[in-house]
């Protein structure tokens, strides 16, 4: 995939992109390895040590919450869940969106019109209302959150991919493939999709923070992850209720969330500048 490899090559030369990618990797690694070394678990309550402030000596570096659970362990667990939800939801929306957009864009005409009106219709659906209905009907679960976020995220991806496909299909190499006798499927999979990769990767890095925000938003409203499992959004929500007695319960997860979001946004912007210096995606 030359589009991808050249993107990676360029990305190395941009400092913002390198720094953000490294930071995200480090955060992800810590959230994965941390629980293995820590002797606190994110769910074990300890009523002797409730509401401890962050300290460098007592073993609870980030303090504890109102049930005496270690905030460091909970934050790491929250990061893990948040990243997992965001990445999986974005991958799902990537798969659906790229395929849908490429098919609509390549076939064009009535099929394109019909497929894109479906997208418009889904855009018009009030998102929160849709999620609450899902939760009421099926109960709260991680899978449902993935479905809910994915159902919204792929719409943007489909539109972007469709636009790119329409410009790609006018290129002479697609005409050449048609003359050779390559089937429509072959053209979409072998000729169009690989050339979309650069744009898609960039859009993915911009879609992930959107998914993180959505997940946090749902968790904050109490529609997200079920306790004792937690996510950054759920931690912030808990923190808000304790904000006057124990500000660290709000500040620490909020800072973690902000850092992750900033990293993804800088990464996406940096990559977009590399793919499309004029910024007209």
């Amino acid at each position: 995939m030359s589009a991808l490899s050249s993107l990676v090559r360029h990305a190395r030369s941009s400092r913002a992109v390198t720094v953000c990618a490294t930071m995200l990797l480090v955060i992800a690694m810590i959230s994965l390895i941390g629980p293995l070394i820590s002797n606190h678990s994110y769910f074990a309550a300890d009523f002797d040590n409730r509401m401890l402030a962050p300290t460098m000596t007592g073993g609870h570096f980030f303090g504890t919450d109102e049930l005496g659970r270690d905030l460091l362990a909970r934050t790491l667990s929250g990061i893990r869940v948040t990243l997992l939800v965001a990445v999986i939801a974005s991958l799902v929306s990537l798969g659906i969106g790229v395929l849908y957009g490429a098919v609509a864009g390549y076939i064009g005409g009535r099929v394109d019109g019909f497929m894109m009106r479906i997208v418009d219709g889904l855009y018009a659906l009030p998102f929160i209302f849709f999620v609450i209905l899902l939760m009421v009907a099926f109960g709260r679960s991680m899978l449902l959150i993935l479905i809910a976020i994915g159902a919204i995220n792929w719409l943007d991806m489909a539109r972007i991919v469709r636009g790119q496909t329409i410009s790609l299909k006018q290129r002479a190499f697609v005409d050449a493939a048609r003359l050779i006798g390559v089937s429509t499927r072959g053209i979409i999979f072998r000729h169009i999709t690989p050339n979309l990769l650069g744009v898609v990767v960039v859009y993915m890095t911009l879609a992930i923070p959107q998914a993180i925000l959505m997940e946090s938003f749902l968790s904050f409203l109490g529609l997200g992850i079920q306790a004792p499992q937690t996510s950054l959004g759920a931690l912030v929500s808990d923190g808000v209720s304790q904000m006057e007695q124990a500000s660290w319960l709000l500040v620490i997860p909020a800072v973690a969330l902000a850092v992750i979001l900033l990293c993804f946004n800088f990464l996406g912007d940096g990559l977009r500048d590399l793919v499309d210096p004029k910024g007209n995606t």
């Binding site: 030359s2 002479a172 190499f173 050779i180 006798g181």
Partner: protein, 591 residues
């Protein structure tokens, strides 16, 4: 004493191993015309930009450019602006890119006058109008208020020349001023430049890859290659006794009509391979004011024999590319039939049978655009095999053999298209078209984007394939020298209609249609002793949306009579030639 003196000019870009221009020294005297010739990447444009102070900031420049003994290298914008427009002005290759699309033509010129304080504010409009008249813009009052996109390419270039001459400069730098134009328009623009120069006595620095343009327009010249000057002298001297191998190669590969071409048509009665009958194509245009039909190809018939090359020639808007795309089925047709190997083909390529697709291939104009940037050379060339011969297993060996045939080293097979040069990329495209051993290949401007030497190699490659496999070729081009070199027969088109269909020798020796004659006249001859055409074909191609009544060519034709605007001439046979002209029998247009 020299007016412009360039000494040891060297231009480097960070990150590039070799300099773009190295140790270039030349001088231009007052009123003189000097040509710079070189292929793409030779550094000729870089040198011109350095003189104008227009190089990007990351260019490292050393050496000196003195104008009237003032140093221009390193001078600030304020100093340079005292020289720009008043003393030195430049005409760029692409007038559309050089004009501001949002500003009316007249205002752009007026701004130059005001910005450089070339005249009093209240005279600016009148001076602008005068200049538009001088460069031959028809109806200058109306064009004054036109936006650049409303003008044709030739008219835009006239505006650019007018803009450059507003300040009555001592030196005019023209960088490939006619490369983007049709050949008859090129002749008009070169004629205009010669006229204006005779009047203003400005010195001319003419940059081009086309030896024909240099030969007719420059007293002195020098040759550049890879940033270095190879030789310098009077134009006659360099053409007559070239010193460098590069110049010799350029001369050998220079497009010329007098070169010995193909001997002429193949004997009649060969196997007809492809028969096109009364094919016509139109597009719908314009969304706002009701749909109009753009008649791209009016009914055209043509039969191609086995192992024959038929060239289709015409300027932009002649319908030659539409004809090619309609034959292969990439665009819908209005009427007509395409019969291939005795069987009528469905119009759309998607409905054509597999075997007809493998036997009818196409090579496109822009070699890079026609190769998938995400595929390696080996999979691009191998793709036709995967589609048509999925049963056979020796694809890799076939691809390797094919690459060797088109002169590509085997190690190139793992490259991506953007890692290839233009010539290599076109070889890959040709390899892809030939690997299934098709009966017919349609080449749509297949060598238009390539430099002279590479162009000759590609043409030889196609001819070799023809001799090997009896391939028939339809060669779409605007370049008459290429036509002369490779075709058995030639179809000349104008505004979607057939003008003339003749054997190579007949067409070049005795053109029968006035348009053919005008085309032949317009090609600049790479011979400094030849008289440049001083009566270029007037006017431009009419709008395809509103074609003139009668013969489409009659508004520009010096032989036109009443009948020409009354009815469309039907193609008729004269000897072996088919001509669509009311006066074909009476006119003698011998070349």
């Amino acid at each position: 004493m020299a007016l412009l003196d360039v000494e040891n000019l060297t231009i480097r870009y960070a990150g590039s191993a070799s300099p773009a221009v190295e140790n270039l020294s030349f001088a231009l005297a007052r009123g003189e015309s000097l040509g710079i010739v070189g292929e793409s990447g030779s550094g000729k444009t870089q040198a011109a930009l350095a003189i104008m102070g227009l190089l990007p900031a990351n260019a490292k420049i050393s050496g000196s450019v003195r104008f009237d003994d003032a140093e221009l290298i390193g001078a600030g914008a304020a100093v340079l602006n005292q020289y720009r427009a008043r003393r030195i002005a430049m005409v760029f290759q692409d007038p559309m890119a050089a004009l501001n699309p949002y500003v009316r033509i007249g205002d752009q010129l007026r701004r130059i006058l005001l910005e450089h304080k070339l005249c009093a504010a209240d005279e600016a409009s009148a001076r602008t109008l005068l200049m538009l008249k001088k460069v031959g813009l028809p109806d200058p009052e109306r064009q004054y208020r036109a936006f650049p996109h409303q003008l044709s390419g030739g008219m835009r270039q006239r505006v650019m020349i007018g803009a450059a001459l507003l300040g009555e400069p001592d030196v005019l730098i023209a960088d490939e001023p006619t490369t983007a134009l049709d050949v008859t328009v090129q002749a008009q623009i070169l004629y205009l430049l010669r006229q204006l120069r005779a009047e203003t006595k400005a010195a001319l620095l003419l940059i081009t890859h086309d030896l024909g343009v240099i030969a007719g327009n420059c007293e002195r010249m020098f040759v550049m290659d890879r940033g270095e000057m190879l030789e310098e002298g009077t134009t006659r001297q360099v053409f007559a006794t070239p010193d460098s191998d590069k110049m010799r190669a350029l001369l050998t590969n220079a497009p010329t009509l007098s070169a010995i071409g193909m001997s002429g048509a193949l004997p009649e009665g060969g196997d007809p391979v492809l028969d096109i009958s009364e094919l016509s194509v139109s597009f719908s245009e314009g969304r706002l004011r009701g749909r109009e039909r753009l008649l791209a190809v009016r009914p055209i018939s043509l039969t191609i024999q086995k192992a024959e090359t038929v060239a289709v020639v015409g300027e932009s808007g002649s319908g030659k590319t539409s004809l090619a795309r309609a034959i292969v089925g990439l665009i819908p047709i209005d009427s007509g039939r395409v019969t291939f190997l005795g069987k009528q083909l469905p119009a759309a390529v998607s409905r054509r049978r597999h075997d007809s697709r493998r036997d009818l291939q196409m090579v496109f104009q822009d070699p890079l655009a026609s190769l998938n940037p995400a595929m390696r050379v080996s999979s691009i060339v191998g793709e036709p095999l995967r589609v048509h011969e999925s049963g056979r297993k020796n694809h890799a060996a076939l691809v390797e053999a094919m690459l060797e045939q088109v002169g590509l080293a085997p190690e190139l097979s793992q490259r991506y298209p953007h890692e290839l040069s233009g010539g290599q990329a076109q070889r890959v495209a040709i390899a892809r078209a030939l690997i299934l051993k098709p009966k017919v290949v349609i080449c749509d401007e297949a060598v238009a984007a390539l430099d002279g030497t590479v162009r000759s190699e590609i043409l030889l490659l196609l001819q070799a394939a023809q001799q090997r496999t009896g391939l028939s070729i339809i060669f779409i081009t605007h370049d008459l020298a290429v036509v002369r070199q490779i075709s058995h027969r030639v179809l000349v088109m104008y505004m979607g209609r057939l003008c003339e269909l003749a054997a190579n020798n007949a067409l070049f020796g005795r053109p029968r249609h006035p348009y053919t004659r005008a085309l032949l006249n317009a090609v600049p001859s790479p011979d400094p002793n030849a008289e440049p055409a001083n009566a270029p074909l007037p006017g431009e191609v009419s709008s395809l949306l509103r074609p003139p009544a009668g013969c489409p060519f009659h508004p520009r034709c010096q032989h036109a009579v009443g009948a020409c605007s009354a009815s469309v001439p039907e193609p008729a046979a004269y000897g072996g030639t088919i001509v669509a002209c009311h006066r074909a029998t009476e006119l003698d247009l011998r070349y």
